[in-house]
Every structure is written in structure tokens, then in C-alpha cells.
């Protein structure tokens, strides 16, 4: 009986606890039919597994700043292509193309990325 109560408590906790709004997504969460291109400024770069992430600010015509989240291949995949934790630094001017998140959140899966006018290769050829 005591075990059953502990179990029910744990099960309820897992299901009921609300999820935060911030989204990290797998590849399938992005609309791979359309490519969007954005210009912005790097605010943070996480060179990690299983996906690297660049955070950047995009300013619209009215001067409003929107924070974007760009997912890229893993650190393990990018390291052999010459990437380092310093490949992107806060303040770098970014031109980034990719697939936008299907849920409309300001995040995308990167297909091409240029920092300060220089392309950073995500794959060996392209």
C-alpha cells in the first residue's frame, strides 16, 4: 500500500509538472521545406553535444530586438571540421539560413552560417 502510494505520487509528478515554454527541438520539429535567412548579432554560443546552439539577436525595421535560437550539429561532428568554442563570439555579425521551427518559436535548424562575412562550414562539402 505504501509502495503503491509512492508510485502513484511519482507517476503523477512526472505527468502533471508543467513544462517550461523554452524549446529545444529535434530535427523533425523544423519545417524542412522552406529556408529562412536572418541577419543578427551573436549573444551566446554553446559548443556542446548532442546539438550546438547559437543564440542571437535580430533587430526588425522598428528597432525591436527578437532573441533567436539556432541549432546546429553536435560538437563531436563540428570539431573535425575546424569548429572551436570560439568559432562564434558575442558581438559577431551573423547571417544564418535554416529551417524554422514548426511551432512558430524563434528558433531554426541551421543549414548555412556566416560570421563576420566568413562562411563556417557545417559539412565537408557544400
Amino acid at each position: 500500500m505504501k509502495h503503491a502510494l509512492v508510485f502513484l505520487g511519482l507517476a503523477a509528478t512526472i505527468l502533471v509538472v508543467p513544462r517550461t515554454a523554452e524549446g529545444h527541438h529535434g530535427y523533425a520539429a523544423f519545417d524542412q521545406k522552406t529556408v529562412v535567412t536572418l541577419k543578427g548579432t551573436v549573444t551566446d554560443f554553446h559548443f556542446v553535444n548532442p546539438h550546438s546552439v547559437a543564440e542571437f539577436d535580430v533587430k526588425d525595421d522598428q528597432g525591436q530586438v527578437q532573441q533567436w535560437h539556432a541549432e546546429m550539429p553536435s560538437r563531436s561532428a563540428l570539431s573535425p571540421r575546424g569548429w572551436t568554442p570560439n568559432s562564434l563570439k558575442p558581438g559577431d555579425e551573423l547571417t544564418i539560413s535554416g529551417y524554422r521551427a514548426k511551432n512558430g518559436s524563434p528558433s531554426l535548424w541551421v543549414t548555412r552560417i556566416f560570421a563576420n562575412g566568413q562562411e563556417l562550414k557545417l559539412a565537408h562539402e557544400n
Binding site: 509502495h3 508510485f7 511519482l10 507517476a11 509528478t13 512526472i14 505527468l15 509538472v17 513544462r19 517550461t20 523554452e22 524549446g23 529545444h24 527541438h25 529535434g26 530535427y27 523533425a28 520539429a29 559548443f47 556542446v48 553535444n49 548532442p50 553536435s74 560538437r75 563531436s76 570539431s79 568554442p85
Partner: protein
């Protein structure tokens, strides 16, 4: 509270080390898969014996004695590697519906053998050589096969949310 735990875990030194190493993450992922094959594979053998599909001439208790140590080794590999992967992605996992479903299924899959061993398996001498085992034993076996299949599927699905 769960969120704060994930937040704390996400920033521990070990979590950061796993995330930021070129090799640790893929190696740990591989160990996790090998652990699952050993654990789920041996569990499936036990379940199939209880269902009277394989090893029909062997006593249930003999099969259990032979197979359980391997199941525990698989569990150890799976648990340690899984905990490290979870730590590395604790904040992402918190938000991931597939991960939550997997944790829930793991709880149920863990409760299943506890119930089995404290009830019908206590009188295993009575049906040790039976091909057709008691209904409760077959139910537990079927539940186990189903649950572990769903756990592997939801585990795989974590990467797609």
C-alpha cells in the same frame, strides 16, 4: 522542484564535461544502447520462457538463475550511462514529452517485477516445470515485453522532440 533539480544537474561539472567533450557523449550513448540490448534481451528471454515460447524443458527458476545476473549487468550499464546522458541534457529533457513518457514507463516496468516476485513467483516450485505458467506470470511477462518495447521506442523518440 523537479525543474530546479534539472537546472542544478544541468550545470554540474560532470554534466558540462559530458556535453563539452568531443568523445564522451557518443561513447556513453553507445554504452547505453549496449546496456539496453543486454538488459532487454535477457528480460525478453525470461518473459518468453514464462509465456512458454522458448526453453520449455528448463525450469523457470533455472532460467531465472542463469539470466538474472546478466540482466543486472545490463541494468547497471544502462543506468549509469543513462544518468550521465540525462545530466548532460537535464534541462532539455525536462521539457521533452518523450523523455517524460519514458520515465513513467520505466516506473511501471520497475513495479512489474516487484509485484511478480512478491506474488506468483513465491510459489514457483508449484509451476517450475510447467510450459503453460499461471495467468499472473504470463500477464507479467506480456506486460514486461510491451513495456520494454515502449521504453525503447520512447527513448529513441527523445531525439525528435
Amino acid at each position: 522542484m523537479l525543474f530546479h533539480f534539472c537546472q542544478w544537474l544541468n550545470e554540474t561539472r560532470i554534466a558540462i564535461a559530458v556535453r563539452e567533450s568531443d568523445f564522451a557523449f557518443p561513447i556513453i550513448e553507445t554504452v547505453h544502447v549496449l546496456g539496453i540490448t543486454l538488459m532487454a534481451g535477457t528480460i525478453a528471454m525470461m518473459d518468453l520462457r514464462l509465456l512458454g515460447v522458448i526453453l520449455k524443458k528448463d525450469r523457470v527458476s533455472d532460467v531465472a538463475r542463469l539470466i538474472l545476473p546478466l540482466t543486472w549487468i545490463g541494468f547497471g550499464l544502462m543506468f549509469v550511462s543513462g544518468s550521465l546522458l540525462f545530466a548532460a541534457e537535464a534541462l532539455k529533457s525536462y521539457d521533452n514529452p518523450a523523455f517524460r513518457l519514458k520515465m513513467l514507463l520505466l516506473l511501471i516496468a520497475g513495479a512489474n517485477p516487484l509485484i511478480f516476485h512478491s506474488t506468483v513467483y513465491r510459489r514457483v516450485e508449484d509451476w517450475d516445470q510447467a510450459v503453460v505458467t499461471p495467468v499472473r506470470a504470463r500477464t507479467a511477462a506480456l506486460a514486461s515485453l510491451t513495456l520494454w518495447s515502449l521504453i525503447i521506442m520512447s527513448g529513441r523518440a527523445i531525439a525528435y522532440f
